[in-house]
Amino acid sequence: MTEADAGFVVFDRVQKSYDGETLVVKDLNLSIGKGEFLTMLGPSGSGKTTCLMMLAGFESATHGEILLDGHPINNIPPHKRGIGMVFQNYALFPHMTVAENLAFPLEVRKIGKSEREAKVKRALEMVQMGAFGGRRPAQLSGGQQQRIALARALVFEPELVLMDEPLGALDKQLREHMQFEITRLAHSLGITTVYVTHDQTEALTMSDRVAVFDDGRIQQLAPPDLLYEAPENSFVAQFIGENNTLEGTVENITDGVAVVRLDDGELIDAKPVNVSKPGERTLVSIRPERVEIDKSRLSPGVHTVHAEVLEFIYMGDIYRTRLRVAGNEDFVIKTRNAPDQRRLRPGEHIEIGWLPEDCRALDA
């Protein structure tokens, strides 16, 4: 994303309320660059779909402005916005064939027959469905319908495509395949994509940037790796990926390392993110795969914590072990299945530790 492209789609202090009492979207500010693949991720009811519908024009913003390519679009009806959209249940017109479905957006744009046919053919080939033009949607599998829906949203060459949980109805394998396919298409065509999902894996694997929604606000807007490794608050930390949390109070902060006293009295090291002074309550967050059970691999002087092994699960590529740490019985660690790796046994007592920068002290 270059600076010149920034702001192809802009949400400027947008608010939305359905009943006049509660805000579903509270003060949304978001700028999406041209050609960017942005995912709106969040639990249901977080306002992400409402934002998408406001962008598509099916909902109107209660306050604030939405700009597309620099022009406000609040008062432009959906059919004049020229935004491609893929719906959750595909919304392929059941009474038309696949080719007629694809020709529909071209027909309403009064594009000539021969050009229409050429474009439909090209769009079908783009999603590897060239042979299916004469079929009805009901005769296609879920994955095939998904491809057709995608082709239909792209056939009139929109600059912006919206996708509302498009892979929700597919099985896991197909979903993974389609994730790849959609990103490949979006990038090769250079179109701007706004993608809504509640599946964090989907968000992480597909997006340039992810906006995590909760409670009508964007909790964090960041590229996937930053989102995972550097969550800015405890909601994002817990929503993205698997996460262990421990509660405690900040003892002191020196040289960018906070010492936190857990509620059972033990001391740990953490990176202060949302804490600034001793005495503050904090929720420390650490990823299961960043926990070290081999003391010799930790730098000397770091604090370690006592843990009791409760459960050991063999998962093929990794071992997943559940521990009791400072009263928390859901503390999970993941270790790689390597020849030299220890298999912990339930009932074993061990010491665990981590690098201070992997453990983030967030808001309580």
Partner: protein, 525 residues
């Protein structure tokens, strides 16, 4: 297992056979579950309808009541334009006297009156006097020998001595007398009376005279059975008897018997089955000269069928026009509101049909609410009150109102299943509101329109009460005519024929609809 032999189950039987056995119990259970309804429908619905439809061609009353006359008329040539000869009059007399005693002649007269007006009264008048036909011969015979007065004489002459139900030895000698006497004897027995105490009817005496005239002297002399002497005596006295004919007796009873058309009608309808009712249903009639159109002023059925079809289509069309927007609104409102409105749609069902129809009378009549309001508001003058009832307008208004729920409900249930995302998708693809509706929403609601139309049309085509009450003479349907024939004119055969045609019309329209729209495209939700 051989390569191409049947697949075998584990016990070596063919797999198909085992499967059938396994499924049989299930099929029997399913059959047992539907059996009560099936039997109920068969007994109370299918069978009565079948028998009713059968009446449209059934004509057994004529040959059953007039067996001798219909047989005798077979050889009669009606084209000569003269009434038949004495033999046929005799056969008619024998049939009529039996029919009159059994009180069947008026029913027969009514039946034949459908085909030729006036026959009913001819039969009624003749039936009153037919048992006196041949009284002159009765008097002559009893005057000749009082033994003819005695029922015993007849019993010994006409029945076998050991078995009275069988014809006696004189049967061959006196065929007409024997035949008629057997019918007389059956009737007496049926009434529980003693044959030896009942004197035969006058026509039996006339038959005896006719038989004796036909019999050669030599044949009579060779007869040695009971009452041979009496017969010889009567034969000898024949030249002195008065000469009367059945023909004269018939004409005395009613002049109508001289009309060859009466006889031609009986001849034309002497079969067990007839196409007469169906011909009448399409304004044709069966004449002795073949099929001919009804007289101009009696042609009503084709017009009524046409009116029924056209008005049903108008009603169907108005129901679509009025019902579609309501169903659309209902299916797009929040569930709470739409349920409330749906109850309002169904509200008319809680009121009796008669009440609803009658309230339309109150509203539509010339001194009614609507006209009063229009006059009061100055839109029409008092002299120019609109005629909205007892004509086709009234029928269309009232029936559209009454049948509207049958259009709204299937439409609503189909529209309910159309997700709003389709229209959204169409709009996101660049379609205007109208294009999105017309190209995407409307085609998906067509199954609902189809279901509603079939429902409303079929209900309308057979509707009876509403046209009867608000239709006047110009707005009645064919069903009103059917009801008239069922309950007033009692011409069930014609009613059945009209009903069969109506049924056939519905089936044909259904077939056409299937070809045009496809019955798979009909959905009740």
């Amino acid at each position: 297992m051989s390569k191409d032999g049947p697949v075998l189950a584990a016990d070596g039987r063919p797999l198909k056979h085992s499967l059938r056995r396994a499924l049989r119990a299930e099929k029997m259970r399913a059959l047992a579950l539907i059996a009560p309804l099936l039997i109920f429908i068969l007994i109370t619905f299918i069978a009565p309808i079948g028998s009713m439809l059968f009446r449209s061609v059934e004509n057994e009353i004529v040959p059953d009541t007039l067996p001798r006359a219909t047989k005798a008329l077979q050889g009669w040539d009606q084209s000569a334009g003269i009434p038949p000869d004495e033999d046929i009059f005799a056969a008619m007399a024998y049939d009529l006297v039996i029919a009159a005693e059994r009180k069947l002649h008026t029913r027969l007269g009514t039946r034949l009156n459908y085909e030729y007006t006036g026959i009913s009264s001819i039969f009624r008048k003749t039936g009153r006097r037919v048992d006196d036909f041949g009284e002159a011969y009765q008097d002559a015979l009893t005057g000749l020998n009082p033994a003819w007065k005695s029922p015993g004489t007849w019993v010994s002459l006409m029945t076998a001595p050991d078995e009275r139900a069988r014809p006696g030895a004189a049967a061959e000698l006196l065929p007409e007398t024997s035949d008629l006497y057997q019918s007389f004897a059956r009737l007496v027995r049926d009434e529980g009376d003693d044959l030896s105490e009942e004197r035969p009817w006058a026509p039996v005496y006339a038959a005896l005279v006719r038989d004796l005239r036909q019999t050669d002297q030599a044949v009579l002399e060779s007869y040695s059975g009971p009452q041979a002497a009496l017969l010889s005596e009567a034969k000898a006295a024949l030249p002195d008897f008065p000469v009367t004919t059945f023909r004269e007796e018939f004409l005395t009873a009613d002049e109508g018997w001289a009309d060859p058309q009466v006889w031609a009608t009986i001849q034309a309808f002497s079969g067990d089955y007839t196409s007469g009712y169906f011909l009448n249903s399409v304004d044709l009639r069966k004449t002795p000269d073949g099929v001919a159109p009804q007289p101009e002023d009696e042609r009503i059925y084709i017009m009524l069928f046409k009116r029924t079809l056209i008005m049903s289509m108008i009603i169907m069309g108005s129901c679509v026009l009025l019902g579609y927007p309501i169903a659309y609104l209902l299916s797009n409102l929040p569930l709470r509101t739409s349920n409330l409105l749906l109850i309002l749609v169904l509200l008319p069902f809680w009121t009796s049909l008669l009440v609803r129809t009658s309230s339309w009378k109150v509203l539509l009549q010339q001194q009614g609410v609507i006209n009063d309001v229009l006059v009061w508001s100055g839109l029409i003058s008092d002299a120019g009150r609109l005629v909205m009832i007892n004509n086709q307008t009234g029928t269309i208004i009232a029936m559209t109102h009454i049948l509207l729920p049958f259009m709204i409900l299937p439409l609503y249930s189909v529209m309910k299943t159309i997700p709003p995302t389709y229209v959204r998708a169409a709009k996101s693809l660049g379609a205007t509101n109208w294009t999105a509706f017309w190209r995407v929403y409307f085609p998906q609601s067509v199954p609902g329109i189809g279901a509603g139309c079939i429902l409303v049309f079929i209900l309308a085509i057979g509707y009876y009460i509403t046209p009867e009450l608000v239709g006047g003479t110009k707005g009645v349907f064919i069903s009103n005519r059917i009801a008239y024939h069922i309950s007033s004119s009692l011409n069930w055969g014609l009613a059945a024929a009209l009903g069969s045609i109506l049924l056939a019309a519905v089936l044909i329209l259904y077939w056409v609809y299937d070809r045009l729209v496809g019955i798979d495209n009909v959905s009740l939700g």
